[in-house]
Amino acid sequence: MGIGLSHYIILSAILFGLGIFAIITRKNAVLVLMGVELVLNSANINFIAFSKFNNLKIDGHIAAIFVIMLAAIEVAVALAIVLNIYQNYKHINVDEIDNLKD
């Protein structure tokens, strides 16, 4: 049996669930960011799969390009915040960062 649209959607669903699990359970802020990357990648797979199975309309590719660009922005800003947190707390455990002001 050939590879159809549902194969790609199921693949991206599994990737999405794994990313959600990483976001919920990880304590290290960088590992939470990696979970977010998994979720964004699964969204991209969906965009491109629907683009191909809609006669290769290019709009899905454009959306995926913007998602990749936003992922780059998000990682840059989030790592800046993480470095700032590390300077203040000497760790990046997201469960223990609960001060609004010291």
Partner: protein, 166 residues
């Protein structure tokens, strides 16, 4: 036939290394298996006739984002290798999180299998998508493209401002 073999290879590579990313206790293992996840997703893009996006994925994700993440892990872990504080949450929280993400996965798969998708596969003639993407970015999506570049500039300035040592 060869398409199916390649699809299953990349799918298993992606899911397996994503499992290592999610479940590994060692942060270095997790971040390096993220590389294989991104690479597998790039292979999936190639299968979906998205050549430009596969190259973009490798250049931006592996060349930029992954290097930034490794940089962040290296600079913020007190002890080389395994960080004591990278331990996971308690057993009950992991249990409920696992139940929740399983529900999400099963629900999405159920929706994907029960919906009748409109499916029109393009003709067998394979052409490059770069020309289409370029034309589309500079005509229909010109405003979004330009504002995205402004957003990128603002974000870089903001990141440098936040990360600056006081």
């Amino acid at each position: 036939m060869i398409t199916e073999i390649v699809f299953w290879f990349f799918a298993i590579l992606t899911i397996g290394s994503a499992c290592v990313v999610v479940f590994s206790r060692n942060m270095i293992y997790a971040v390096f298996s993220l590389l294989f996840t991104f690479f597998g997703v790039a292979g999936i893009y190639v299968l979906l006739n998205a050549d430009f996006l596969a190259v973009t994925q490798i250049m931006i994700y592996i060349g930029g984002i992954l290097v930034l993440l490794i940089f962040g892990i290296m600079i913020t872990s007190n002890i080389t290798g395994v960080d004591i504080k990278s331990g996971q949450t308690g057993k009950i929280q992991i249990f409920f999180a696992g139940i929740f993400s399983l529900i999400v996965i099963v629900g999405l798969i159920f929706i994907a299998l029960t919906t009748k998708w409109y499916s029109a596969v393009p003709s067998a003639e394979v052409y490059s998508t770069i020309e289409l993407i370029g034309k589309s970015l500079l005509t229909n999506y010109l405003l979004a493209f330009e504002s995205a570049s402004v957003l990128l500039l603002i974000a870089i300035i903001g990141a440098a401002l936040i990360a600056r040592r006081k």
